[in-house]
């Protein structure tokens, strides 16, 4: 469980997050939604401890985030960045190997290799695992990084717009994978999603942010309403629902 208490952060005097209070349960898929510049990425960065908060605290499994050693934290939380551009000769397989570094410290064991294989298969990268990452398409690269995060095998997985660059088929696959990670492995996946329909259909909880504050937070059934979404995004919504899916229509 992650407890966030009165967290705030500003960059160069400009406030990004104000007084964030959240209690995030374990083993669920949690989507972070909201307009651009709402502070979603910053929140993830703070939870991953890649930057320090100005005020407030984050408590991870009843221990303060700042009290974890870097090594412990790397086996507790993994983080997928929004943009991944590298000018280095790394193959997809080698990239996924990196994901095991917190466990293996550079010496891969049989278990490490099993986990690596599993991640590569799950992300459908078997055929291109020896390709260099600067030679594959944006979608393949995105899946390669997800495979790395999967191989890291942490309880908490933070994804910053994992659906970037992906077509519909792969987007569905990624969201199914996040569901699989939560349901089968009990992982907690917190992901920034821009496609409201993916958020509404694939997550257990939704955190909506606007102007650096939590706008609403709750189980997806309870918070996906026309009124909520309209106020969040400032556009009209119509919700079409049957017993299987929720479609939030904001076209035309």
């Amino acid at each position: 469980m992650i407890n966030i208490n009165s967290l705030s952060k500003s960059y160069a005097g400009i406030p990004i997050l104000h007084d964030i209070n959240l209690e995030i349960p374990k083993g669920k898929v949690i989507s972070l939604i909201g307009p651009n510049g709402a502070g979603k990425s910053t929140l993830l960065v703070l939870v991953a401890r890649l930057a320090k908060a100005d005020n407030g605290s984050i408590i991870l499994d009843s221990k303060k985030l700042s009290n974890y050693s870097l090594d412990q934290l790397s086996r507790k939380i993994s983080f997928l960045r929004q943009q991944n551009v590298f000018d280095v000769k790394i193959t997809i397989k080698e990239l996924v190997d990196f994901g095991r570094f917190p466990h293996s410290k550079g010496q891969l064991t049989i278990q490490d290799n099993m986990k690596i294989e599993e991640s590569i298969n799950k992300m459908n990268l078997q055929d291109i695992k020896h390709a260099y990452i600067d030679q594959v398409s944006g979608g393949q690269l995105q899946r390669a990084f997800l495979a790395m995060v999967m191989a890291q095998d942490t309880e908490y997985i933070l994804l910053d717009e994992p659906l970037n660059n992906l077509d519909m088929k792969h987007s569905v696959e990624i969201m199914n994978t996040t569901r699989f990670l939560a349901d089968e492995y009990g992982k907690t996946v917190i992901t920034v999603v821009h496609d409201i329909n993916f958020a509404a259909n694939y997550s257990d909880y939704i955190i909506a942010m606007k102007n650096g504050r939590v706008f609403f937070y709750g189980s997806n059934k309870s918070v996906i309403t026309e009124k909520n979404l309209k106020e969040l995004f400032d556009i009209e919504f119509k919700i079409i629902q049957d017993d299987k899916v929720i479609i939030c229509n904001y076209y035309k």
């Binding site: 870097l70 939380i77 993994s78 983080f79 280095v88 000769k89 790394i90 990196f98 570094f101 410290k105």
Partner: protein, 315 residues
């Protein structure tokens, strides 16, 4: 990889043997000792240049930079000019190779320590920021040198010209011994972090995410690099520009991110080109050109090709 290393090793051995034995009278101990000294000096400089350039490029995430951008070499020439103006050409600083070596390397190390201290204190975490400061300071040293040159006695100007170009004329057994020990200690210390260095290519965020203390490792490496550069500059003068084309040839040949490979191959290429250039200077050009001029000529051409190629692939 094994095949590549074998070829490089064979080539290096051939060049080393040619360098040592070409047109030599083995009974003349003075000549033999001189060649061995020059060989060791060039090997040492090759180690420093290949290591520091490859790692510097990893940390700065840019493959057309060299640590010489930080202004070490201009500082070196500038310090020589100041010494000359203050103490004169007959002072101990210019008569004793050891003293001038120790002085020059210490001043460069102190300079970089101050630079990094300011940098890491401000917590900017942006290598480009410190690079820019180094670049500006380098320009400052260079223009100051040019200004001071005007007021130097023409007889003494020769000392400064000697410092501006790399050459093997200022080495001695003592300076080489100091350099061997220092460089070995630094390399052994730094190479313990190789496996972390390989992670550093993913950048700060992923490194931290994988439990690698990016800041600490980058700092250690940068300080180590500054010692390596200082020693090699003090030993044979400004030469590190060669690093740009060496490292890029190495990346092309190895096709990997693994530092122990890229650095090893870079070392072989550096050592070969330096020894070959020195050989040409000694036996064909009759000492008319300095090592730096020859190597920068080749390096410059390669650099232009490199940029043209990058531009073409960008389209």
């Amino acid at each position: 990889m094994k095949k590549l290393l074998f070829i490089l090793l064979t080539l290096l051995v051939v060049i080393v043997l040619t360098f040592l034995s070409y047109d030599i009278d083995f009974s003349n101990k003075f000549v033999v000792a001189g060649r061995v000294e020059r060989l060791v000096a060039l090997i040492l400089v090759s180690i420093s240049i290949s290591y520091s350039t490859v790692v510097f490029q990893t940390i700065s995430d840019n493959k057309i930079l060299t640590p010489s951008l930080m202004g070490y070499e201009y500082l070196y020439v500038f310090s020589q000019v100041l010494l000359l103006l203050i103490f004169g050409g007959n002072s101990l600083f210019f008569r004793s190779k050891e003293l001038s070596f120790i002085f020059a390397s210490s001043i460069m190390i102190v300079y970089s320590l101050i630079l990094y201290r300011v940098f890491f204190k401000r917590n900017k975490k942006n290598v480009y920021f410190i690079l820019l400061i180094g670049l500006v300071l380098g320009i400052f040293f260079n223009t100051s040198t040019q200004f001071l040159q005007m007021i130097i006695n023409p007889n003494e100007f020769g000392y400064i010209q000697g410092a501006m170009f790399s050459s093997l004329s200022r080495i001695s057994i003592k300076t080489i011994s100091i350099a061997v020990v220092t460089i070995l200690i630094v390399i052994v210390y730094l190479s313990r972090f190789f496996k972390f260095l390989d992670i550093l290519v993913l950048g700060r965020e992923y490194s931290l995410g994988l439990g690698v203390d990016y800041d600490k490792i980058a700092r250690n490496q940068l300080i180590g690099i500054s010692v390596l550069i200082a020693i090699s500059t003090a030993l044979i003068g400004p030469i590190t520009f060669i690093g740009v084309f060496i490292s890029n040839i190495s990346y092309r040949l190895t096709n990997t991110y693994l530092h122990h490979r890229t650095i090893t191959v870079a070392f072989f290429i550096t050592a070969m080109s330096m020894l070959a250039a020195q050989f040409v200077i000694e036996h064909i050009l009759n000492y008319r050109h300095s090592l730096g001029v020859l190597i920068n000529l080749a390096g410059g051409l390669y650099f232009i090709l490199l940029i043209l190629r990058t531009l073409r692939t960008k389209k």
